[in-house]
Symmetry: C2
């Protein structure tokens, strides 16, 4: 099979992807143009587009780059107003001038993951072979594939070694994959609220979300793009179910309790009597404005499939053998989706191979979403670890990097 | 407004309910025929049918009756094969000859709750005023209303004082309501895996389930009964989401882990690759055979609205003032839906009014559903507490009850 992409490049036996989302702020790059990307599923992808955003300046040594990996519902717009919703970026508390990930000092890259819906190739793009949207014909994407595509972007930027790779939740899975698969390309790694494999309970919650989407008749087996109605109700239910898992019981209790919404007594009906109900409905209805239902299926599946030990004779430590990467793992006490025990297992594996690892469990009621919220202790840990690593790396505090020794 | 019921009885300003589910095994009774039941919502119900099941024999003193209150997805068929699915009763491990609730000794009553779908009046019944199914025109039912209807059944059976009221989950809410509202009618009470009010997180999970049902176009605003297609997909998603909350993370991990279903490698697709996915899908698809989607909405709402303290100047202890009821509360360590803290709050309230209360937290990995499973320690506690209470009550070990002193 020979595929001729729009750009005129020819690849053999490869799935070409023609983007439908264009004109977004930030950068795009066409990858797999000459050598397609070999996906874990056995399929080959290329040419395909990847969209990314950068903040700050790359120093002359190209040694101050931090790759920020986004979570399931995130995208590359970490600190910009979101181009669709206009809302603030998802990590504007962390990345910025004078913030823990200081863009006066570091060059920050954030890449929309493969399978995503904000400019990087995903199921809503066009299959040039048919002229139609992929839908479920888009190949299944794994965390390994996401990271392989990111590596091509980092290659393109001429960055031999990332100073740091960090991210929370699905982002943490990518961080672990980076550190395991490309240890020579990572100086330090900060997986936050993550796990080395997706648990049965987490797979279960994802399956509920997928079934909610697939139960929506507007989903049309994934081929909804040309219909007037989109599977918004199913996607909203999926988002609502997921959103509960991002918060802690006590956070919900403190934030909402049994408080009523705009009324003094219950309605004795099915209106959103309780504030928690309105809040959840709002979370569902706003999510569908910016997220593609099929991408949601692909993202959840990538997380479900993630099992780093399974790729290494079922021994997690083998994933990090002889690693020179400096690790800092962060978990949150009230996170029941990716509980501290998951991070601790990674720490044990890293200890078993005598890797450099620090681990902090942060006391908070905020649940899994703590990494997206105002958590001073978390910010302090991030800043402190990065400062120490920057000194080791010979970054001297400004973005030029022209002075100071460099280690690898 | 004057309503003439099928039976010819006349009530004024009352909602009459004509049952559609008939011919089930067990008993039915028409209530509210002369005096309608005043619901918490302000509406009045009657005449309406209540279906119930009994096991064992009522002794001559009518002092050996145990009322078993079922949970959200349960019904009156506690130990019979289910008349629709043929599956064993939901509490056949607990109720039976020689079992903790020994039907050779006690007379067991289990009543399908108001708003249910197994013979007791609910949204799938017919409104004689219109000749059509109620759907969402059925009045909202509270835990208080369920218990008020049960009390009418107990009156009808000529039982002045129940020896015991027990039940898990939503059943425990009914137990607490019984003990609080009709303390003179209850000798002892065993609320299992319950709470005195539904938490924000639990309301949130219920709201997801309701939204999943309402998002199903076959739901038709609740008027699906005359359509060929029923809102089974929405109800299945609701059941799947709920089912996760009934199990513990570690139970899911031990039972399923990341084991694959009938395959040696993942499918790189959206089939049920993992055993947990097949299991959940099975839970969803079997539930819809026996449960009415609108009843699911009404049951979840009743639980959401439950807040025993709110009915007593926000002081839970006031709900049990001067109570002579002997309480035994049971919780399970791995139950995160109705965690031990919820039971402990009730214990504190009971202690504050010097009520007779024992409390046991049972160590188990089984999660909320532990009360439905084979838990020897749980069985031991049940048997032991009942034996002690039976002695106090002067029940002498056989069903005749003709000898032995009786206390009240």
């Amino acid at each position: 099979m020979t595929v001729v992409s729009k750009s005129g490049a020819t690849t053999t036996g490869s799935i070409a992807v023609e983007p439908v989302v264009t004109g977004l702020p930030g950068h795009t790059i066409v990858l797999g143009d000459t050598v397609p990307l070999a996906l874990v599923s056995g399929q080959r992808l290329g040419p395909f587009t990847v969209a990314y955003q950068t903040y700050g300046s790359l120093n002359a040594n190209r040694s101050n780059a931090i790759l920020v990996c986004h979570a399931l519902s995130g995208d590359q717009f970490a600190i910009d107003p979101h181009p669709i919703t206009g809302k603030p970026g998802w990590w504007e508390t962390v990345i910025g001038s004078g913030l823990p990930i200081d863009i006066d000092r570091y060059f920050v890259i954030c890449i929309n993951v493969l399978g995503g819906c904000m400019g990087t190739a995903g199921p809503k793009d066009i299959n040039p072979q048919t002229g139609k949207r992929f839908g479920l014909d888009f190949p299944i994407i794994t965390i390994t594939d996401m990271v392989a595509a990111q590596k091509l972007v980092i290659d393109h930027l001429g960055i031999d070694k990332l100073f740091c790779v960090t991210g929370g939740s699905m982002g943490a899975m990518q961080v672990l994959e980076w550190a395991s698969r490309y240890p020579q390309r990572v100086f330090c790694a900060i997986p936050i609220a993550g796990a080395a494999r997706h648990s049965a309970q987490n797979i279960a919650f994802h399956e509920v979300g997928r079934q909610a989407i697939m139960a929506d008749p507007n989903w049309h087996g994934g081929n909804y793009y040309d219909h007037a109605e989109q599977p918004h109700r199913g996607l909203a239910v999926a988002r609502m179910a997921a959103h509960i898992t991002y918060l802690s019981d006590s956070a919900l209790h403190q934030k909402f309790g049994r408080e009523l919404q705009d009324r003094t007594d219950v309605s004795y009906g099915f209106d959103a009597d309780f504030q928690i109900e309105s809040y959840l409905r709002h979370q569902g209805s706003t999510f569908v404005e910016r997220f593609d239902a099929n991408s949601y299926l692909y993202m959840t599946r990538a997380m479900d499939y993630f099992d780093l030990a399974a790729e290494h004779e079922a021994i997690l430590a083998n994933a990090f053998e002889d690693s020179q990467v400096r690790f800092c793992l962060i978990s949150f006490t009230s996170d029941w989706l990716f509980p501290t025990t998951e991070s601790r297992q990674i720490v044990h594996a890293l200890n078993a191979v005598a890797a450099s690892v620090s681990f902090v469990e942060i006391e908070t009621d905020a649940g899994h979403d703590a990494f997206l919220l105002d958590e001073p202790e978390f910010f302090g840990i991030l800043s402190g670890f990065l400062a120490g690593a920057a000194e080791l790396r010979g970054l001297d505090g400004d973005a030029s990097g022209r002075t100071g020794r460099e280690t690898s």
